[in-house]
């Protein structure tokens, strides 16, 4: 089976980083992976995205026009990617920065107040980790343990932020699991 997703947001929100972490974790879990960044002529504060494919088979196209999942960290990303998700797929919405709901009714929606949670945990820059955790909780695409290991590695030179990033990841994970359980109960 194949998990593919597009992660999109403003430059600086760390969307490329969490995409890379997913690819690394997928590889650590023994899967085939690819990570493709947008590298267009954009500047800080502009939009930024990456496509990650995690598969049991060799990855075919690293270019995904119709992903199973779109993780959108800001409103322009929701506008751009909402319509592209495959029917039956999932839109993970950072509700802290997106003040409208997902219009589509044929996809699962996971609402994540990523910035609010990160702020509450005392590390406003860890909103991306909350979103990544929520994705993992909702899809189990790769193991939480593999990503936790990567957080420790990634921030090895800044040990002060490891705990808050791990907390953000775990809180997101729990939220993603909860939202999924609710969706299953109501038969969505």
């Amino acid at each position: 089976m194949q998990n593919d997703l597009i992660i999109a947001g403003f430059g600086g929100q760390g969307v490329l980083l969490i995409g890379k972490m997913l690819a690394y974790a997928g590889m650590a879990d023994g899967k085939e992976v690819s990570w493709l960044p947008s590298y267009g002529p954009e500047m800080r504060g502009g939009t930024c995205n990456c496509t990650v494919v995690i598969s049991d088979r060799p990855v075919g196209s690293p270019v995904v026009e119709r992903p199973w999942v779109a993780m959108v960290m800001n409103l322009p990303s929701l506008e751009k990617y909402e319509g592209m998700v495959k029917p039956g797929g999932m839109v993970l919405v950072n509700t802290s920065l997106i003040n409208r709901t997902v219009a589509r009714t044929d996809v699962r929606v996971v609402n994540v107040p990523a910035n609010e949670i990160a702020n509450r945990l005392g590390n406003p820059r860890a909103a991306n980790m909350v979103a990544l955790g929520a994705y993992l909780g909702a899809t189990r695409a790769v193991s939480l343990e593999a990503v936790e290991g990567l957080v420790r590695e990634t921030f090895a030179s800044k040990p002060k932020v490891i705990d808050s990033n791990l907390a953000a990841l775990r809180e997101g994970y729990a939220l993603g699991e909860r939202e999924t359980a609710v969706a299953q109960e109501v038969g969505a």
Binding site: V33, W35, G60, V63
Partner: protein, 361 residues
Amino acid sequence: MAKKLMKGCEAIGEAAVKAGCKLFFGYPITPQNEIPEYMAHRLPQVGGTFVQAESEVAASNMIYGAAGSGERVFTSSSSPGISLMQEGISYIAGSELPVVIVNIMRAGPGLGGILPSQSDYFQATKGGGHGDYRLLVLAPWSVQEAADLVQDAFDLADFYRNPVMVLGDGLIGQMMEPVEFKPERTPCKPLAPKEWAATGCSGDRPTNIVNSLFLDPEVLERHNQKLKAKYDRMVRDEVRCASYGTDRPYDVLVVAYGTVARVSSTALDDLRGEGVDAALFRPITLFPFPHAELRAAAEKAQEVLVVELSTGQMIEDVRLALEGRKPIHFLGRQGGMLISPEAVAEKVKAIQASSAEVRRG
């Protein structure tokens, strides 16, 4: 060695180091800046030298000089930069020197854009610089294959004493995938000592001269014929290609190279789910082009579809290979726009539907 997640550009750089390349000369340009960045950091660790040239014209003359000394040497650039290097590349081919050139293609013409393209196919395979010469051109479809082909490129360059180009698009340079380097790699060609190299001598052997100037037309013609014999040998011995789904019956044969071939392979998987039979033929060497192999694969198809990130360049070699035997269709995007699996699948379905109608008709 364990698999490592690497960006295409970094894998290309590491592959060059693993192949024993000690010298890099180049000039920055998107989307391949991570190659010189990697070499700048990595070469000093292995006793090599990285030089950022003042321009691509200079870089191509630096690799010319360095190759004359017999060291393994490498440069990389992207489309406009490769255009600037053409004079040097022609001299290198004329002087029969081994160099490896990586072109991570971006959209043109002119400065164009920085996004992926395959619009330098003609330049890579049909000359680029002046004179009657050929590059051996290798086109990877994954980061792993880019790493493998770059290592082979050094062996092929040495064996034929000819420049070898690895032609990838921006996607190959920028995406990350797992890569594995074998600890003990056997060269893909038998390699003789470089007795021709201009390394300096104290009269104990005849002087070696590196030169592309032959003012006597009879001598130059003999030189041209010698080069031709070399290119003929490449055509005979170096063709590489791959196919996907050709073990089953198929109506449409898709021909694509590089990442576009991968996009097409996903389209074929999706089509199989819908009961549409199509197969993929992928040239890995663009020169020498796999004419006979393509002709054989197309025999079993009703229609052929060429997919490229250009307005249609490789399609000319496909036409030459098929000699009018099959109808040939084209799907292309330009300007840095990408082709999706969905677009390929739709085109295949449209071709199959109209082909079936004609046959019924």
